[in-house]
């Protein structure tokens, strides 16, 4: 049944967006970003990675964008929108490209995603603040992004192996 399939797809999509929202919310509860502005684990990337490997690039992109929009309406403002959109977009773009090369597994793609998530955010922050001083935070952001990428990649690989949509 075509309609059954479509509504199942929509339900699955809504479920993943909801999951991404919960992860974003959890992340805002636990400020890991003590001394470095804007360092977030990017926990929601777990959902984007999962979607990328199980549903394809287009679904992953839509889920990522919808999550950014919903998080902005719920917790954010225009500035945090630019900030999280840049992180999400750069991360997604690099993950897509890296996955296409076929030279990396999910783990490597996740690491690149985590790192680019932080780079995208700091670039927007530099543009908004009109200063390059923030470059000082880049080393910490690179390390944080790598650690987050490894954790999320490991979890994502586990889930992808066990959960069949």
């Amino acid at each position: 049944m075509a309609t059954g399939k479509a509504s199942r797809g929509l339900a699955r999509f809504a479920l993943l967006v909801a999951l991404a929202m919960v992860l974003s919310w959890l992340e805002s509860m636990v400020p890991l970003s003590l001394a470095v502005p804007g360092v977030k684990m990017g926990l929601a990337n777990l959902v984007v990675i999962f979607a990328l490997y199980n549903l394809g690039p287009r679904q992953a992109a839509v889920i990522s964008l919808v999550r950014v929009l919903l998080v902005t309406f719920t917790f954010g403002n225009a500035f945090s929108f630019a900030y999280s959109l840049a992180g999400a977009a750069l991360s997604l773009l690099v993950m897509l490209l890296l996955r296409k090369t076929g030279k990396f597994s999910l783990l490597g793609v996740s690491i690149a995603g985590g790192v680019c998530h932080n780079i995208g955010q700091i670039l927007v922050a530099m543009a908004v603040l009109g200063t390059t001083d923030l470059i000082w935070y880049l080393p910490a952001l690179l390390v944080a992004g790598t650690v987050a990428g490894v954790c999320i990649g490991a979890a994502g690989a586990l889930i992808t192996a066990r959960v069949k949509l």
Binding site: P31, S33, L34, A35, V36, P37, G38, F79, Y83, G102, K103, F104, S105, L106, L107, G108, I111, A112, V115, A125, V128, L129, G130, T131, D133, L134, I135, W136, Y137, L138, P139, A140, L142, V143, G145, T146, G149, V150, G153, A157
Partner: protein, 119 residues
Amino acid sequence: MKGHRNDWLLAVGVLVLAAALWFLLRPGGEGGWVVVTVDGTEVGRYALEEERTVTIGEEDYNVLEITGGRAAVTEANCGDHTCVHTGWISREGETIVCLPHRLVVRIEGASGGLDAVAR
């Protein structure tokens, strides 16, 4: 899982880059001046030796405290309080950032301020 080796090479590559950048960008020598910018415009420049407490902004405020040759944002009404958590800075190049208020507090070297005055 295929491609595992490349994954770890990527991780190590990023960490090496981080270490190199940290080495290049690490804070320099003695600081002399505390420079405050909001939206990229300088709004204040204070000597690091002089004790003082300034409140920057009104509705969106950050309290900057300079004492004992160090500076910190000790109070703010921004959402995340990253600026307050950053703590004390004193070395040239160190910064405190408050993203919600677009505020940057940066330490400049002792000579930078004098040059600025001379010009």
